[in-house]
Amino acid sequence: MTAVKQVIMGLNGDEAVAYAVKQCNVDVVSAYPITPQTIIVEKISKFVNDGEVDLEFIKVESEHSALSACVGASAAGARTFTATAANGLQLMHEILYITSSLRLPVVMAIANRAPSGPINIHCDHNDSMGARDSGWIQIYSEDAQEAYDNVIQAFRIAEHPDVLLPVMVMMDGFLITHTLQNVSVLDDYAVSEFVGYRRVDMIKVPAIHGDKEVYRMLNPRYPLTFGPLDLFDYYMEHKMQQIETMKNAKKIIKEVHDEYAKLSGRFYGDGFVEPYKADDADFLLVGLGSTMGTVKEVVDDLREEGFKVGSVRVRVFRPFPEESLVPLLRDKTAVGVLDRGISFGSYGQLYLDIAAHLYGRMGPILIDFVYGLGGRDMPPSLIKSVFREIIEAEKNPEPVLRVRGVRG
């Protein structure tokens, strides 16, 4: 049941994200163009130029500066957005950690693209996986519609007083960013109501202001210092706050997802993982992003052939949704993990997390399928053959790491 009026627009993923940003009462955007994210920045600057949105667009000379500008703006109390991909995200790396440790609720869209080199502009997840440990919440979208929905939810999650962490919204480069889709967009007023305006959190500084609380923001009247030296006496306490907050963020992610589902009529599993015919399946494929849409088709085909297969798409990757995922996987015969990334010398990143969270819990046979690097196609025929390998995993459990879709 849809609660509010929506219109269907023909948008690709980048345009859908830009449209969401336009509706979210954003104060400051600073970004640097990089394929396949460029359309987001182009669209937003066009909205600004045409007076369709009232935000400050800060032009910069690099992604390092883009995120730095966002840090400053966010510390000054602005609702802040940026977007990037691959090499741009890598150039931001230093500031990623600074954003999350200063607890600034910046929202960033990532158009997943294989990192150089050799230079490639197409999709894989090694770019955002390289940012996995930086303290950002990470949400992976399946299509343009979800990218739109996720950006709107991201502001609410990031700025929630119990969270105050930056959020990355991922979408597959070209496969989502440049693919035109019918996207249902909410009415401007409904989105504005849903996200509100940024409300800066307050802190107590008894020694200076007594009982009065002050805004945790840069304000010459009540000066605060952001990012001072923090050595062995306090650094670890600040990291402990981040560890705890990531855990607690799950509650808020769920609340925001459910509230948005009521508003829009769209929900994504339980907000963390989206199972498809998983309950009675013996064999599962788990993965991230747009490929999981194709996987559903293949599940249907194989079900018709009599195989008890299913799939689970992981939507929220950080914080890792073990409470949602483990019960789905625990009792299966064999589970294949689709990784569009690889930690060289180890396994794909999703596999590593799933294996870690299943450890000691009587899990299924786990096999890691690395696929689609640099935009290599993942057609239904290949997914089908991956499923066959999972079905035969009891007979052939080795090797665990299997790279598929590569010429031998």
């Binding site: 440790s101 200063l102 607890r103 600034l104 105050l164 959190d201 802190i203 107590k204 500084v205 020694a207 200076i208 202001h209 002050v214 945790r216 000066p223 605060l224 210092t225 952001f226 990012g227 001072p228 923090d230 006496d233 306090y234 306490e237 600040h238 402990m240 706050q241 705890e244 907050t245």
Partner: protein, 89 residues
């Protein structure tokens, strides 16, 4: 020394409730900038470039480095177009 606090008791994000006026970086320096008032053309470059905003300037006269905060980096001397700033020990 005051007792160290636990992670639940301190503000998030490591913010410190003090302004940068409390951080006297002046004692870091080995060299201090001295402005030759005769040579200075009052362009304000040194004031603008100082990374610690340690140079005071009224917008008209000769700028004055504040040695309580000047950390002695020498950026001002490098940026002065008429070489009016000397770094002295």
């Amino acid at each position: 020394m005051s007792e160290l606090k636990g992670w639940r008791e301190i503000p998030i994000g490591g913010v410190v409730p003090l302004s940068s006026l409390e951080y006297r970086t002046g004692d870091w320096k080995v060299f201090r900038p001295v402005i030759d008032e005769e040579k200075c053309v009052k362009c304000g470059n040194c004031w603008m470039f100082c990374p610690d905003s340690a140079i005071e300037w009224d917008g008209e006269g000769v700028p004055k480095p504040n040695y309580e905060y000047c950390k002695g980096c020498g950026v001002c001397a490098e940026e002065c177009p008429v070489k009016a700033i000397k770094m002295v020990r």
